[in-house]
């Protein structure tokens, strides 16, 4: 087991290294000179040279890359051109918001997807199965922003059931402590604040969770049907076990494995989807920061965020892989 874990961790390192090289080149090959971007139109050759020296841009490429890597390893991702703040600092303020949104979406997708998949698998090609298939087809075919605005229109504008914008009502003046909106609301000690924070999470979590929901449902359905056809399931039924017991003990135990892998893979689509979701719902998370940074041509931020997102994605999948090997001994030795 330990060997497996070490092998998988070592396997992720070259990927991150490769990504850092690509992102480094991406930044260096960008049209335009960062010195000009900083100085604006009043750049003189002397000032440009000064900035180049300050940023190390006058050194050969490989030296620049080594410097950049050295900084990265110390957790220094550079600073925004726009407000001069360190990427890491702004990230620390914004990431909790994205975490809350992502977890909300994941709970929605997994919490609904697994029961729906099991339900559909009970009678393959029955009417419930058909309905679930149509729903998941919609889930993968509707863009997050289209679903997002549709939800805002129905539940926000028309029905006034749920708030549509931001992670919490700013008028409540909840003090940011952890920057996780729900936790901060809990810490404020007012139940009303907690309800408000949860209400704000509902629509964005549904919009962001729709694609993972569709995928988790499909995989659960396929996996349950697969396992249901196994001989040992027939044996279990033949010896007179209740359906419930067969479902829980014989089918789900084995059907879980592919579902877990797919849930891990969804973290990537959730992080990418957060870019769109936070834009629709005005959440001040990392996703909307990517968008504003692109609009401001703040490429250091864009580059750092892509690297951070990829790292999170790799780490989550590493954890999933290891968990999977833990659950399924056959994987460890292959």
């Amino acid at each position: 087991m330990l060997r497996f874990i070490v092998r998988r961790i070592l396997g992720a390192i070259p990927v991150l290294f490769g990504l850092s090289v690509i992102l480094f080149l991406f930044l260096r090959l960008l049209p335009g000179d960062p010195a000009i971007a900083i100085l604006g139109q009043h750049a003189t050759p002397e000032l440009v040279a000064q900035i180049h020296a300050a940023l190390g841009l006058d050194k050969p490429m490989y030296v620049q890359y080594l410097n950049y890597m050295g900084q990265l390893l110390q957790g220094n991702f550079g600073s925004s051109f726009i407000d001069g703040r360190a990427v890491v600092d702004t990230f620390a303020l914004r990431f909790p918001v994205t975490i809350e949104l992502t977890i909300g979406a994941l709970i929605f997708a997994v919490g609904l997807g697994i029961p729906l998949g099991r339900l559909a698998a009970r009678h393959p090609n029955g009417w419930i199965d058909g309905l679930v298939t149509v729903l998941s087809l919609f889930g993968i075919s509707i863009p997050i922003f289209v679903l997002g605005y549709t939800l805002v229109y129905i539940f926000g504008v028309e029905l006034h059931w749920l708030p549509s914008f931001g992670p919490i009502d700013p008028r409540l003046n909840v003090q940011p402590v952890t920057h996780l909106p729900i936790i901060d609301a809990v810490l404020s000690g007012k139940p009303g604040n907690v309800v408000d924070a949860f209400a704000h999470l509902v629509l964005p979590a549904i919009a962001l969770g729709s694609i993972p929901l569709a995928i988790v449902t499909r995989i659960t359905r396929a996996s349950v049907i697969d396992v249901s056809n196994e001989d040992y399931v027939r044996t279990a039924r033949a010896k007179g076990l209740t359906n419930r017991r067969v479902d829980d003990r014989h089918i789900m135990r084995n059907a879980w494995l592919p579902v877990i892998t797919v849930i891990g893979l969804q973290v990537g689509s959730l992080l990418a989807g957060a870019v769109l979701t936070e834009t629709v719902f005005n959440w001040p998370g990392v996703g909307s920061w990517v968008v504003t940074s692109i609009q401001n041509h703040d490429y250091i931020v864009v580059q750092s965020l892509i690297l951070i997102f990829a790292t999170i994605f790799l780490v989550v999948n590493l954890v999933v892989d290891i968990g999977y090997a833990f659950l399924n001994p056959r994987i460890r030795y292959s």
């Binding site: 070259p14 990927v15 991150l16 490769g18 990504l19 690509i22 991406f26 090959l29 960008l30 049209p31 393959p124 090609n125 087809l137 919609f138 993968i140 075919s141 509707i142 863009p143 997050i144 922003f145 289209v146 605005y149 549709t150 805002v152 229109y153 504008v157 049907i225 973290v267 990537g268 689509s269 992080l271 990418a272 989807g273 870019v275 769109l276 834009t279 629709v280 990517v290 968008v291 692109i294 609009q295 490429y299 864009v302 580059q303 892509i306 997102f309 990829a310 994605f313 790799l314």
Partner: protein, 290 residues
């Protein structure tokens, strides 16, 4: 070899697959949706009742009515005509993007799967790196790098799909290399290039075709997503569905139809390609159907 007699043998496979496809209800529905999308795109200049770029300010944000089937936008332009012209952009950009992805991905996958060894290892590590950037983020990064414009978007979306195609093709090639017909060709003294191109590739193409069809659905959604984020073609005269949504989001309260129609257009075309892709998969490999 079977491949030599390609016209006859493959007609069997494809005719069977096609007849299964045409008996598959959902796939037919998908084809109908795609037909609506393609016909709307191709015939936009004929069908569209108005110039999509010229509006009458006095008609700003009128709801759907008999003269303007889908209403008018902020600048009083006919929404129906804009949705039709938007289909042209989505179709062209989506198809070309997937084609770029197929070309890059097939080249990488064929070289990696065909040559094996160190080349394979290096190429697969590169695709691992690209696959580590989740979803549309890679495309966002590439557009931010290349700048806005139709070609850039096609390249960005295409490059972000290439690793998926490369992986898929390499996987099939590795499996096929050990197949009896490949061993036979090798024994007959065929060159590696010939084995790859004439024997392995034709057999590895079917999963690629299925994946490419499904990728068209994703491409339409991703292209609209880039437009929505302000990374669209950036031509104010050319209506792009994602950009139309961004422009109208402010008027959600008074003019929800400006979100509804372009949104529905994206969903219908994406559903079409998803249904067709699933249908193709089942038609080519009937064992998959349950």
């Amino acid at each position: 070899m079977v491949i030599r007699a390609a016209p006859r043998a493959s007609r069997g496979l494809w005719r069977d697959a096609l007849s299964r496809l045409f008996r598959n209800g959902p796939a037919i529905l998908g084809l109908i949706f795609i037909a609506i999308f393609v016909v709307g795109a191709v015939l936009a200049p004929i069908i569209a009742p108005y110039d999509p770029t010229v509006g009458t300010l006095a008609l700003s944000r009128h709801g759907p009515n008999l003269t303007h089937l889908m209403g008018t936008d902020l600048l009083g332009r006919d929404e129906f005509s804009r949705v039709l012209y938007g289909a042209r952009i989505s179709l062209v950009v989506g198809v070309v993007a997937v084609a770029f992805g197929l070309v890059f991905g097939t080249a990488i996958g064929a070289i990696a799967g065909g040559m094996g060894g160190k080349v394979d290892t290096v190429l697969m590590r590169v695709t691992d790196v690209l696959l580590a950037v989740p979803g549309i983020l890679l495309a966002i990064g590439i557009v931010a790098w290349l700048g806005q414009g139709q070609i850039q978007i096609m390249l960005a979306v295409g490059i972000s799909y290439a690793p998926i195609f490369a992986r898929l093709l390499r996987g099939s090639l590795l499996a096929l290399r050990e197949a009896d017909f490949a061993t036979a060709a090798r024994a007959e003294g065929a060159t590696p290039a010939r084995i790859l191109l004439r024997h392995l590739m034709p057999n590895a193409l079917t999963p690629l075709i299925v994946q490419a069809t499904l990728a068209l659905a994703t491409a339409i959604i991703d292209v609209a997503g880039l437009g929505f984020l302000g990374l669209g073609p950036g031509d104010p005269r050319a209506p792009e569905w994602g950009e139309m949504l961004t422009d109208s989001a402010r008027f959600l309260q008074n003019a929800p139809y400006l979100i509804l129609f372009p949104g529905a257009a994206i969903v219908v075309s994406a559903i079409g390609f998803n249904l067709l892709g699933d249908g193709l998969r089942e038609a080519i490999d009937p064992r998959l159907k349950r």
